[in-house]
Symmetry: D2
Subunit: 447 residues, 4 copies
């Protein structure tokens, strides 16, 4: 759950990478970084904080050149150091190299142990360092061959961008679990990014998605790029969560608009629902499109009855005793003037631990809602995702431990309904396969 | 266009003020400040920045006591100094006093000139300093009488909170142009705030609006408050812009929910429209409720076809030449997958200079919209507001200089329609009068 | 105990003021500020921190013009706000004005009370605000006359610089307690500064000291300045402490070099001492010149046996239990290899509370010194200074409460000797009178 | 040219390390860092800035445990990243390890190349990473044996501290070029530090110097430490520059007090000088002891005629055209009242490029000095030091390119005299050998 972006053969590449990262801030707010190559050497600036906090005017005096890669990191506990920011840049036997990485390697411990036994040192907690070591330890003469060798040793759901002084490599795992798209910049250069919303901001046009198992090779000064298929067999399974809540609604993933998909999920919910209600309301912002779909299908009026405050910063001042449910209330405020005495269908994108839903139901009740019917635009999350979405362990996943009825009771709703896995797949398009591990526990990438 | 909050007879008053300001961040992002009294002395912390940036844990070690007032300041040019942050605190003949102020005094220059001629010094550019001087120079024995005397010398649209060591005064101008509401805290204390959304976050219950021309007097340790009417005659005219775009949708102003009013404005637009279109889309976030109202009335499908990015910070890195319309694009991204080949009704809350609308139309065209019908949920802004809304001069107001047809051509839309003033008043409720100066030029407060 | 500097008719006046303040950082480390006039308006930048922390490149984009005044503020408790930084700038009946101030007004409470009764408001705790009010409330037509009127109402030890849009006024109290000198810049402009060391850094040449009771008037674009004597009778009494420890040794005060004076104080101490010792050692840095004078006169070898660490910042991490005397040890480290078994004369500039001297003696004993003879290059401080030097109250002044013998016992020295007041005056030059209030309690400026 | 400190078996080890680093701030101001082990894991905090800037109260919540190592880094160009701060911490086959390093490895490129060819990646520019890799790649079972194997592969002038979860290793190269001393803390723990001035601040007692080629092994919970001699043959050659200017005067290096040595260097200069002069003046601070020695020997009066300003920060505001020699003048100000018409002997510690000396001579002339006789308390620097002192290349070393007479002419002095190498050795004590590479070009450590 991070964002990556790469720019090649474009003036002020680092600036374009900056705006690309800016448009993908929703994929990671903990740290941000950019490496740029001016064909002679690679410079890197990275730090904890938002894109607009990490970089300033001086940054782009340092980050010169027509090639750049960038990264936004998602907040995870444990990682308390700038050393865990990306890109990871190093000197090795073929010169200088810099890597950014989105996803998760399932055999990282095994690879790391092998490397460590063989004398490698690890200065961070990131998977990315594994890949660097594999490349550095390869005996192949050319970087491209080394990358191939390295990538064949790792298993997982990942997208990689690798920058050398004169080349950029874009790689997607054989399942294509994480999205990665290719665009063309107005000055003839290329952009590769986790989401197509980055193309819109920088004025690039969508070319195509990078294919599962594909490696694109860009070279300084060359207007053509090469494509290599890294695996004999590919098995495309884009992550369903990208559509459900992770991606921006204006992004196109594998040819499908995220917003439209979310509307379909809501439509599906409405089709199977037997609930009569006065209003359909979303939990903003991610629940909005599904709620629109639900309202259209059910003909129940749509209302933005929960208002979201977007000014949520990092400082947390302990509230007074009288303020309850503060963490949720800082973001969400239900309007009693709309809700008073009403029976409402509430649309949310998922239930993970159940604690937030419980608080939302409580806030809605206090605002006067008479009946609260919670509809979730996804199936029950019963398994931890190991492929890059930050889900907690079995013990914390409420649907891994309770039936729908029990969850409903726990969160205090009058009814609760999820999509079935089939309904989800149907909405996404049954012509393809998806990564659905959180729902079905089918860990298709063997460790 | 600022937010004010006052807390009295409540434990940790400054913390409650902090959360009140946090919930009203939308009313001002330039600076923030809180004064607190522990009955012995008044301490103030203020600085440039968002509420979450100005205060930290240590702040509340300083801001002790059961009384506090706070302020968020709206960004305006010229003001480059912490000296223009509020509250303004001073020592004067009766001791210590601290003031926050929302609104604008129309006779400020006249008052200031008189004061200056009489030897007063002004260390800031704020109206607030005028009031301080008037109170300090009064010869009345009691603060309350001095405040009355001072307030009778100023004319304008304002709300004031005045904190002495043991009292708090809440005052609203005789027209009630700016909103101010009274709530009751769970521990028995009171809260006064520009918007009722502050009550929701801190767990207060709405008591009533402060009346036009009313002064509420709160005293330390007393559970009752007193009310004084400052003017023989009042002439209530709440500012229509609070409903149109300035207030948060979940606030109640003069008994009416802002969100519901905005929906009505959209309904009105739909009722008079003759346009047939495929979609109704809002300019988010403020255009959303009106677009919902329009869609409901017109039966044209509602779509969130423009996605808003909320991570907009202050650093502005100059973009590359290829990026156009950057300032608007940083916030708004229209989705071509929804818009391609469609005839759309676009709902926005107002047109000021016309430049933003022009860019939005251009972005929509680039995203493939076939026809663009712009509907504005307000009348044409033909006059500068002098009562606290930051509107530019006649020269910059596009509707002061162009007919609707000309504006339509300028922004590049296929059609453009505003609400009439009567339709606006009708939607707001014709039982009352409103401040409509920006629309009708009726400057009812004489300078 | 602050530093002030004024620049007129010189290109980039604010930059020169910056360097002037930089060279006088020893006179105040709490806050720093500069006002500059470009003949049209006055801009001010001020903040807490060292000169190099408060200003950056952008500051000088704001502080344009050929006139500037600046200030370094000494650290005092209580003052926890940027509002107590100088210059104080205000708008008043004649336009814009900015003031910096070094010293202390003895009738400030009386003046302030009178002003407050008359309706003035005070936004800071600074004397400077008094003067602003007096000027603003004067009924004279011209600023110069108003300043004269204002200054005649204040009593105290002070130097003032007052900047209007086109003039600068430099004023010294009738006793000339605080130093103020006039220099000429290479480009023909003038500089006025608390200490002449500022002239050396900016390449100015010393012209003369501003005289007690004198007001110099500089005007934009005029190469000549005017001088006005404000008081019929002057009574020059430069503060002895400026020579004893406050000024930089390379400054000339009233025609005398501070370093040379300090050497003389040491010589005097040696002349009356009957102590035989192996070494003379200074408490660095201020005790060095006196120790040199003592060593020269006594023929006892001089050793820099106490090493001073200059990297003392503001963060204070609580030490472990094993570390004692930390606050003194962070700065001073006696060398046992020099001190072991030696009888030493230690030269310090003064004893205030006695606690630091006690710790120094303890450190010297631990370093092996056999006998410790403390010699103080000043008389006993028996009275609080009210004229601008930050001395504590009678209760805390050790020599106000103990005889020399008792102090000697308290600090643990083998002997202790002060200069007598006569010896001090003799060293400073008996042809003049001095402010000696801390020693003799002669508060010659009546409240 | 850095500082290192290690603490073991002492409560709050990181705090003691902090104060140790604080007292050795003169050895490096660019970055600072501490790793602490609580016997379970190693935590590291490091950043650019002074010790007091890098650490705050929260740091010591993280840096728990009874073992810690710390580092101050000297400012060098090129290193623009926190990644070049020490300690370097990593996970490797035996667990976790952290290293700090003072000095320079002469075969670092050769070692690095070999490692890189063998697949190692380097994330910083520091020698320290070489050592980490050598340890990680060793096939020995125990860390101690791995360290021995690693150290035998590197050649250079270095001191190392290596922290594992339960042990600390202190190592000095076989020549003992860089100093490293062992002290005992009051609570029974040990401290190892570059300079003994660290012991004085934390209240430790000197035990002995670590011997050339020695490795001390400390273990958690054990009051005894072990010593291993790493090399069959040692050849002690402490760096002469530590005495000449690098160490603090209050440090003891190899049993000799730095201050006393510097005085002897001045005495030696006086003994051979034929100059008659009015005054001896030091270039402060490092020239002070030699000038005292010179004055004592020559009977010429000593004067602190150049005043040093210690408030030099990092911000550099471009001065006005009129200010010349600014960089030197910001620090040093000669007093004309002392110098006017005088013939002076000026004592400095060394001449590197000659540009600073040239400016000092110019400032002295402008201050009125009649004759300026420059005496350098060291021989001519004719060769770059490769053993850890930051000297420039041959092309920039003035004495590598000019005779003494030419240098004298270049800097504008009336005469110039250096110590001979023999005189230097004589002063340091001819019973030992020294690292004198900068003077004699004898690079005794073969690459």
């Amino acid at each position: 759950m991070c964002a990556i972006v790469g720019i090649i053969n474009s003036k002020d590449a680092a600036k374009t990478a900056y705006y690309g990262l800016f448009s993908m801030q929703h994929r990671g707010q903990e740290s941000s970084g950019i490496s740029a190559s001016n064909n002679h050497n690679i410079k890197t600036i990275k730090n904890r904080g938002l894109v607009t906090e990490v970089f300033n005017h001086e940054s782009f005096e340092v980050l010169k050149g027509e090639m750049a890669i960038g990264h936004n990191r998602y907040s995870t506990a444990g990682s308390d150091s700038v050393l865990d920011a990306q890109p990871v840049s190093a000197k090795y036997s073929l010169g200088q190299i810099s890597i950014v990485h989105n996803g998760n390697l399932v055999n990282k411990n095994e690879v790391r142990e092998r490397l460590v036994e063989d004398g490698a040192i690890f200065q961070s907690n990131m998977d990315t360092e594994n890949i660097l070591h594999l490349i550095a330890r390869s005996h192949k003469e050319h970087l491209q061959d080394r990358i191939v060798e390295a990538v064949r040793q790792i298993r997982g759901a990942y997208c990689l961008l690798i920058l050398s002084r004169s080349k950029m490599f874009a790689i997607r795992d054989r399942y294509g679990v994480r999205p990665l798209s290719l665009g063309k910049l107005k000055d003839g250069g290329y952009i590769v990014a986790s989401e197509t919303c980055a193309f819109d901001l920088v004025g690039a046009t969508f070319v195509r998605d990078v294919k599962p198992g594909e490696m694109l090779i860009f070279e300084e000064g060359k207007s053509e790029y090469k494509s290599v298929q890294l695996f004999g067999e590919v098995d495309p399974r884009i992550c369903a969560f990208e559509y459900i809540y992770f991606a921006r609604p204006d992004s196109m993933i594998e040819g499908k608009n995220v917003y439209e998909i979310r509307k379909k999920l809501g439509t599906k919910l409405a089709q199977k629902s037997k609930i009569k209600a006065d209003l359909v309301i979303p939990v903003p912002d991610s629940g909005v499109p599904a709620a629109l779909g639900y309202a259209n299908e059910s003909k129940i009026p749509f209302e933005m009855a929960i208002v979201r405050n977007h000014y949520v910063g990092r400082t947390f001042i302990e509230p007074t005793q009288e303020m309850r449910n503060l963490k949720v209330k800082l973001k969400l405020n239900p309007m009693s003037s709309v809700l008073e005495g009403k029976s409402v269908v509430v649309i949310d994108d998922s239930i993970v631990r159940g604690t937030t839903s419980k608080k939302i139901v409580e806030l809605l009740r206090n605002a006067g809602a008479k009946e609260i019917h919670m509809k979730i635009a996804a199936p029950e999350i019963k398994h931890p995702c190991k492929y890059g979405i930050d889900t907690p362990s079995y013990a914390e996943l409420i649907s891994a431990n309770m039936s729908t009825e029990e969850v409903c009771k726990f969160i205090g709703a009058d009814s609760l309904e999820f999509l079935s896995i089939d309904e989800l797949v149907d909405s996404l398009g049954s012509e393809r396969k998806y990564s659905l591990v959180s729902f079905d526990g089918d860990y298709f990438i063997n460790n």
